[in-house]
Amino acid sequence: MTKPILEVKDLARYFGGVKALDGVTLEVPERGVIGLIGPNGSGKTTLFNVVTGFYVPTRGEVWYAGERIDGLNPNEVFLKGLVRTFQIPRLFPSLTVLENVLLTPPRQVGEKILVAPFRSRWEKQEKELARKAVALLKKFGLGDYVRAKVSELSAAHMKMIETIRGLITDAKVYLLDEPAAGVAYTTARELFTFIRRLRDEEGLTFFIIEHRLEVLMDFVDYVYVLHNGKLLSEGKPDEVMNDPKVIEAYIGR
């Protein structure tokens, strides 16, 4: 394992008396594909929400590339280079696939209200981004969908585009919330193959919540297990799968 790019130190988040997250410490190494598993209600999505700025932690710290990021707003966290996806793909339905990808690059000149009316000031940047976006879509076999409406896509393609949206920026770490939920087994394996390919070719880091362990375990380097807001176990996939504590938490007594 290389040095950690994302570090969570003693992170806690309470909702009234409910300790959704209660002192979790973990790290995600650069260029890692790391799994985060645990039964329903164990705090996985809360952890993602705290890391990406949706919640302020009750206690603890989040460090990204040597910088403390807890307490930042979600848009600021994104601009640091962390992309987050949701269980249900959240693309923008009234925009085309190309526009969904074009939306993400930060600091676009034409997004300033006073510059936007004057096309010549942002036309060059817009065209460059469009060429970059088309190249990315083609590279991952989505070249035919450039003009498609989001509603015309399959669930798997939507999930791929959610990730590709991040690629056009310089984002380095991707937090994926159940990428394999709601897709067929073979498609799920294709999605994870796509994720591995992005790691190998683009040097990206992935931190993945997943319930479909039969898919996840074949593709991740390391797994963290949450239970009742606490870290229950961690290790290589086969170590975790054979840990009696994990089996008990999943199956119950």
């Binding site: 987050r84 993400t104 034409g110 997004e111 817009e126 065209k127």
Partner: protein
């Protein structure tokens, strides 16, 4: 003004109202149609523009000519009538200053009002703005320096120094339509730009837009600043056209009339907003012209008009749910780049 049927006179009157209401409809479309912010208080910003123009002009004229009377007294109104058209430079200067200040002040009020409500749902924003509009009207109804229930009159028309009233009105309609043209140009340009793309993204899914690094509260506040500023301009244009303002011109029904225009024309399409405004102001003007005893105020309860508008909306929503001019995809130079790429011979390497 009212011969059997004066077609040109009708067109001038319709054109003026069309221009004013189309500016309001475009501004509402930017907020509701493109960004998804339900503004139920549009009339407040329209009223701010109108009252700003009215108070600025009458107080300035009285001060310049050293008249001690207040503008809402009989003496004040007589003095305003006497000095109103005396100095073309003064009239035009007041007009220009009102437009600039109307835009800035209405815009700033919109910006500030949205601050406490931006992080909550759209319904809260709508209700807050609706309440603000009513509070403003009730304040105006009771605030003596602005004429209370009688309002302010004797607002000097910017072309009052031209002796012929018909020519004056024709010049004014050109000014109003000029402002409409600028507003439409601006709205179309920002819609078809990366900024417009962000607006539609915010409308579709605020949380996802936030996750994609967009500063959603700032985007919304910017749109409300611009939209309210545009409504302020419309109010200034109305005040100088009517030459008087009173609180009952700014009832909540005005807001819903503008909503009707946007729904009729097509949510999310600026040209649709203009079409909607054209239809509703046409119905309104034609009724005013054929029933002369209704007088010139558009706010007189006019049940036939409301019925016609209601029927039109039901018909349009039944047969053309997107409105008469439905929303169009965003056009940016990105598509030109895509077309250029498609024209290039494939260099191989992609799996199709």
């Amino acid at each position: 003004m009212l011969p059997s049927f004066d077609i040109l006179g009708f067109l001038v009157s319709w054109g003026t109202f069309l221009g004013i209401y189309a500016i309001l409809a475009i501004s509402l479309n930017l907020e509701v149609g493109l960004t998804g912010m339900a503004n139920f208080g549009k009339v407040a910003f329209y009223g701010i523009g109108a009252y700003l123009a009215a108070s600025l002009s009458v107080y300035t004229v009285l001060a310049v000519y050293h008249v001690a009377a207040a503008p809402y007294t009989t003496e004040g109104i007589i003095a305003l009538g006497k000095y109103g058209g005396a100095n073309p430079a003064l009239d035009l200067g007041i007009f220009a200053a009102s437009l600039v200040l109307g835009f800035i002040i209405a815009g700033c009020v919109g910006y500030l009002l949205t601050y406490p409500t931006l992080r909550v749902g759209p319904a809260f924003l709508g209700i807050t703005l609706l309440a603000f509009g009513e509070l403003l009207r009730i304040f105006l109804l009771n605030y003596q320096p602005l004429g209370a229930s009688k309002g302010l009159s004797g607002i000097p028309h910017p072309f009052l120094w031209i002796p012929d009233p018909v020519l004056r009105e024709r010049l004014y309609v050109l000014v109003v339509l000029g402002f409409l043209a600028i507003t439409l140009w601006f709205a179309e340009r920002i819609t078809n730009s990366p900024f417009g793309r962000v607006l539609k993204a915010v409308r579709d899914d605020e949380v996802a837009a936030l996750c994609m690094g967009k500063h959603v509260p700032r985007v919304k506040a910017t749109v409300l600043f611009i939209g309210s500023g545009m409504a302020g301009i419309a109010g200034v244009l109305l005040a100088f056209y009517m030459s008087s303002v009173n609180p009952n011109m700014f009832v909540p029904a005005v807001t819903f009339n503008i909503w009707a225009m946007v729904i009729l024309g097509g949510m999310g399409n600026n040209k649709g907003a203009v079409v909607g405004a054209a239809i509703i102001t046409f119905v309104d003007r034609i009724l005013t012209f054929i029933t002369p005893n209704l007088g010139i105020t558009i706010i007189t309860p006019d049940y036939i008009r409301w019925m016609i508008v209601g029927i039109l909306i039901v018909l349009v929503l039944m047969f053309m749910p997107g409105g008469l001019v439905p929303e169009k995809p965003i056009k940016t130079p990105a598509w030109e780049a895509v077309e250029d790429l498609e024209k290039e011979p494939a260099r191989g390497g992609d799996e199709a």
